[in-house]
């Protein structure tokens, strides 16, 4: 059996951990050993099955995020981390190499983990990227811009790319390696698990690629039905830090909609305002497969759940709070199955947004049409194919990738 190490290096959302945990669980169930190398460790409490894995802190720079503006390209994101400086990048690279040399994985699964990929490359460890479009930039030189709300200076894109490449080369040359010809070579993998749909790809300009569909976790939590009643069924999954949370709560509490709301660590006064007849406020995730089957609208920030809802035929209303989510929101809007509320919108716009999404039949029709385009996609089937491809890469399974003979995975 194989040893598979997961690396989550950048990005603040726990979606990275939950997605990795979903795949790790399937791999572990098939007898593979798993290690997690994580950006933050406290969320481990959400994935109790990880108690069977080795867990390590991901090497990070204490100076990460200092004086960075709004990034235009993946290279800009890198320059906001240890990649701003060859010596610092070299130090983190050594940290990743020490972990990989010590744990000896047969395969590294990189979820927004550029330095981990560079380390695996330097040790000739097999590696795959595992993330949505934003985390897996297209293999182009220079790495293309993703900014869509402002004009982009092509010279600046090239300059950032050149700087990040120079720092990477400075770091790997210290290890006695030859330089990379282009920055995207640092992220070359044995497989790119691009976990989104082309319609939702953050890089609308990506060359033709294989899309594996979103990494939706549907097996977490307990099954739960929407409360009885006649109103539309609205599933809410937002963070407590949403600036317009009070306005959203007021709109929902003043409506006839049936609501299931998961807002982690919600304070009691707000909980009391939102909860009521037909509106349940929950403290733990619920089984999403059941909830999405029943649901008329998902309200969330973005992430894998947005694409998963769409592929389940459910319209989505987004509250993007950072640029990656904003790009998802723009792509979702283009499908005609979603809308989004900017951080500056007032209570009246939020009310109008929820109203439109629950009354205008075009949103539902477009969501259903989207789902019909991907009849083979389901969270389970997506994971089954990824596991099969991983087993092919590490050479432990001879079965064809799309064979349906593999045993069923745990629910």
């Amino acid at each position: 059996m194989a040893r598979v190490a997961f690396a989550w290096e950048l990005g603040g959302s726990i979606g990275h951990l939950l997605s990795c945990a979903g795949l790790a669980r399937a791999l572990h169930a098939r007898g593979h050993a798993v290690a997690f190398v994580l950006r933050e460790l406290r969320s481990l409490a959400l994935v109790p099955e990880a108690s069977a894995y080795d867990v390590f802190q991901a090497p990070l720079s204490p100076r990460e995020g200092l004086d960075t503006g709004i990034p235009v390209s993946y290279a800009d994101i890198l320059l906001g981390t240890s990649w701003r400086d060859a010596r610092e990048l070299g130090a983190l690279l050594r940290g990743w190499r020490a972990l990989l040399e010590g744990w000896q994985p047969d395969l590294l699964v990189a979820d927004f983990a550029p330095t981990a990929l560079l380390a695996a490359r330097s040790l000739a460890v097999k590696r795959v990227a595992f993330g949505n479009g934003f985390f897996n930039p297209p293999a182009m030189s220079p790495l293309p811009p993703f900014r869509v709300d402002a004009s982009v200076d092509a010279a600046q894109v090239t300059a950032s790319d050149t700087a990040a490449l120079a720092h990477a080369n400075g770091a790997i040359q210290e290890l006695g390696e030859g330089p990379l010809a282009q920055l995207c070579d640092a992220f070359a993998t044995d497989e790119d698990f691009l976990c989104t749909f082309p319609e939702l790809d953050h890089y609308a300009t990506r060359p033709p690629s294989v899309y594996w569909g979103p990494r939706l976790r549907t097996d977490l939590g307990n099954p739960m039905d929407f409360p009885d009643g006649a109103g539309k069924r609205v599933l809410v999954y937002v963070q407590r830090s949403l600036p317009q949370l009070d306005a959203l709560i007021n709109v929902l509490a003043g409506s006839a909609h049936r609501v299931i709301a998961y807002i982690p660590d919600l304070d009691n006064p707000r909980r009391a305002r939102l909860a009521g007849r037909g509106r349940a406020v929950i403290d733990r995730p619920i089984r999403l497969d059941i909830a999405l089957r029943q649901c008329d609208l998902l309200v969330c920030h973005g992430g894998e759940i947005a694409g998963g809802a769409l592929a389940s035929g459910v319209p989505v209303l987004l509250f993007p709070t950072h640029y990656e989510q904003y790009l998802t929101a723009r792509r979702l809007e283009q499908t005609g199955a979603g809308g989004w509320i900017p951080p500056t919108a007032n209570a009246a716009s939020i009310k109008a947004g929820v109203q439109a999404m629950t009354t205008d039949p075009r949103f539902l029709a477009n969501a259903r049409a989207f789902a019909q385009r991907y009849p083979a996609w389901s969270p389970q089937e997506q994971r089954r194919r990824i596991v099969a491809r991983i087993e092919q890469l590490v050479g432990v399974a001879a079965s064809p990738i799309l064979s349906r003979s593999s045993p069923p995975e745990p629910p």
Partner: protein, 391 residues
Amino acid sequence: VARVLLAWEFGGDLGHARRAVATARQLRELGHETAFAFPDLASIAPGDAAVFASYPSPRLATPEAPDPAPLNAPDILLNLGYADAAGLAGALRAWQSLVRLVRPSLLLCDYAPTALLAARAAGLPRLTLGSGFSVPPAGKPMPSLRPWAAIDPALLMQRDMRLMASVREAWKLAACNGAPPETAAEVFAADAHLACTWPELDPFGARGDVEYLGPQPDTSAAQAQAWRGEARPRVFAYLKPRDPRFAKIVEAIVKVAGEAIVAAPGLDPRQPPPSAADNVRIVGAPVALDVLARADLCVNPGGIGVLSAALRHGVAQALLPMHLEQYLVARRAVEGGFARALEPDTDADFATWLRDALADRALREAALAAQPLGRRAPASAGERIARALAR
């Protein structure tokens, strides 16, 4: 050959990395391997990083609003993330995995209480290494960090209990073997505490349960600097550019010194220098401390490296502590008579204060009289640890 995992978890100053590298080199000469766990991997020079495997220390999530005036050592840990049992459990699990990966014979913990807990769970020998501050005197409740202020013991006990509730919960969540610590004092407990300082400079005062090895020789790279003229007084300053008082202190040194050398490691080379005066040289890197031999005054925050070097050279000191540890050490130096110290939040006229210190004959004489304290030969941390490994 035995293997040591040298774990550093908290504290941001260069002192931790320097002590770690010096100790690892000593152990290497004695035939033992050392692996590092560091919160900042870039704090090791690439040459050392090529010799000693370096892993990232597991991180805790720090609270959104830490208490600006922690009462006792448990309170400091609560401020550093120990209040969050889920976060502590995650870090504890990661230390356990790292111990399984590195398979050390011994854990050497430099302000690394979570590594101490992991060693306890793994049944591994554990030693502490540090400047004294990371090993608070034991007590129930754990004593106040400000012995000059009256603090209700019930408040101290409350901090201890909060810490222990979190530690017990994390111990369970991380599925640790064995019994968790029963008291706050046990969280800090180890087989031996090795303090790289002198008893006269221990922030908590001389104690019986600490082995004083003395400041370890600094083997890290430093620039050689020499006095250029005969102008007096000569002021050597070792300052942190991040100290909000930095520019004002430099300005005051320019005013009072005949000649001054200011070492300011970490100074941003892209910024204009804080002074262009002829009588002051500002170096944005560590400076070799033998330059103290012919100095009249040493201005520094109270870190053990510079403070003990100035003591060794018999130079009077003007201390500007930036945080509690330095403040407690500065108090000891003032008690010893060879230093003056300013409270961190004093809005002082630095030039007058420095002039007074330079004119203080008693201070100068006390510094010379205290020189033998600083000239004691330190015991090698590496040899002491090797003895523990041989057991």
